[in-house]
């Protein structure tokens, strides 16, 4: 029997909504999968596409990006800007073969502790089903091998 694949997932979240939602999940003692590592940022507007690429380079099998619901941004419209960027970046990743299934976006408010827990579980499960991001990890491995020929 093969061992259950434990995907590595990196989440970039804003501190005002999703990070607070994650805290709420904690204070509510909800249980969820331990596969996600959170990077806290002031706002989704701060989340640059470069972060996602670097998470992949660090071997992530999936990436989650999350912030305040539209209209709820602490900085009034950081999340609106983020939303556009994500849409474009997501299409770009899709076009270059990085499946949108691996890079997920969500809105989670400070009040949605249970949504956070559920989302982490479902994202973990989804990425687990997709399996390791072998194609990308192969590229990473190549950088460590000497030049051929």
């Amino acid at each position: 029997m093969s061992e259950l694949f434990e995907p590595k997932i990196v989440a970039f979240v804003c501190t005002y909504c999703t990070y607070a939602g994650a805290d709420l999940a904690g204070t509510s003692r909800l249980k969820y999968a331990p596969n996600v590592r959170i990077v806290r940022l002031p706002c989704t507007g701060r989340i640059s596409p470069m972060f996602i690429l670097k998470a992949l380079q660090k071997g992530a099998d999936g990436v989650l990006v999350s912030g305040c619901h539209p209209g709820d941004c602490h900085f009034t419209h950081g999340n609106y800007h983020a939303r556009r960027r994500w849409m474009v970046f997501r299409a770009l990743l899709d076009f270059t073969g990085i499946s949108p299934e691996r890079v997920k976006f969500s809105w989670i408010s400070a009040a949605e502790g249970s949504k956070f827990a559920d989302l982490i579980n479902s994202v973990t499960e989804d990425i687990r089903n997709l399996g390791p991001f072998d194609q990308y990890q192969q590229l990473i491995k190549e950088t460590e091998s000497p030049a051929t020929l």
């Binding site: 660090k58 950088t143 460590e144 000497p146 020929l149």
Partner: protein, 335 residues
Amino acid sequence: MTRILFSDKLDNCVAKWRSAGLAVIGPVQEEAISRYAAVEKGTDFDFGTVLPDRSLKELFFPQTEPMLRYTIKKNEIDTADFTPPQGKRIIFGARACDASGLEIDDPLFGWDYKDEFWFQRRNESVIVTIACTKADDFCMCTSLKLEPDSTKGADVLLRPIDKNKGWLVEELTDRGREAFALISEYLQESSEPALPTVVVPEKFNLDACVTWLKNPENFESKFWKEISMRCIGCASCTYLCPTCHCFDIQDEGDTYSGIRRKNWDSCSFALFTMHTSGHNPRSTQSARWRQRIMHKFNYFPGKFTVNSCSGCGRCSRQCPVDMGITETLQAISNL
């Protein structure tokens, strides 16, 4: 009487070399570009192109090469060297300009610090060149005092015979003889004549150019600005050049472990000479283009007594704005 290698025997030769432990490399036409790449059988070769798009240099000096792996530990830094790939190989069907390029760069890679990555590969490679029977508008080896059948940098020179039937074999070095001894059973004595090598017209007067370049007065000539006005500052000329050899050393990885790499770099880039202070001694594209020409035809020969150009013409052939060494040296010749 010379010996001939018939094309229909090429497959056997490749098999023979491979079974003797030699990797076989040759000009290959891929979907998008032509280049020197590994071949497994005779039909993998493509001898039809004037010159592969990418030069032979990259087989000795790849665009990126890991040198050492480092891990920063609590109290020390662990390092592990990468060794250059071991294993003999035969490069079959190189062009004379590409082979010359290797020999031009040998002194550079060995004059103070011996670049083991370069020389390991050099020592393990047998270079078999094929004399050119055709050329295009960009070929200019003759202007560099080389010929389409130059033997510089080659271990064996092949001269094509008619109707792509095969090649006359001229073994030039022991290394070449050794490699061809392996396939001697496939060589035939023959008196068939070689096809004439292509006549590549001389495009500029190299000596006149060098004289002009060596004149310090011309360093600040407004010629440089005029000739390079349309240069966009990319590195396609330098990266495709069989002799350009500049590299940068980069540490790449996460914050406490990674790999130190040797990467191609180019004097065309503004950042090439940018100081930390923000000052750039070569602040304009014309200064950078001048550097490239000066380096190839003034500074490099000043140190190594050979021009850093073998006349392949790739710089002009691939330039997005139709510049190149030819145009510049022609213009200097006409000054």
